[in-house]
Symmetry: C2
Subunit: 126 residues, 2 copies
Amino acid sequence: MSNWLDAVKWDTDGLVPAIAQDHKSGRILMMAWMNREALELTAREKRAIYYSRSRQKLWRKGEESGHVQQLHELRLDCDADVIVMQVEQIGGIACHTGRESCFYQVYQDGNWVAVDPVLKDPTDIY
Amino acid sequence: MSNWLDAVKWDTDGLVPAIAQDHKSGRILMMAWMNREALELTAREKRAIYYSRSRQKLWRKGEESGHVQQLHELRLDCDADVIVMQVEQIGGIACHTGRESCFYQVYQDGNWVAVDPVLKDPTDIY
């Protein structure tokens, strides 16, 4: 039953990018990385589990903040090297800055401008 | 006016992942890579221009297929290492398999199952 994991084209670090999308609004919440174990656990536990490249260990999204991402659907792309998850974002906050989405900076005339509100003070999250 | 490009955290290969999302439906169409030149040209020409890792050169999405991605919005994430583009997908087909989105394989009981229809025969596209 692990051939679906073999079908994924892991990069030279054994990782694959995983995009989390809000299953209702369609908002792209974040992109992080998964290793084989993280992807297997994501499917098994039906919640997003990433691999933190900076901490070099599994990252059970929400383990500290409570902002768990419950998995509704898991997809793989044509090249088998990118994952998209449809998730329910518990708490409505995916970003460590306290915003709904990590993609809150918009390009405007040669600058990145933060356009989305901070919903919760990060110091109250962690 | 190039500081917005300096703000991006390019990986060790000088690349950043770029996600294309349909600006109306919210469907995630594909993820590919950009180098500095590709991102600059994307903003300037208001269409998605990637860097092909396999061909090691700029990839003007749609240059062969006509399936250009017109840019509506460009966003950067909190870590400045992932791009999201809101695009209008000309022809309604982003994937080289002739499907709307590259993410047409869904995880079901230990398998990846192709669930989306082929809208156009790839041999008629290229």
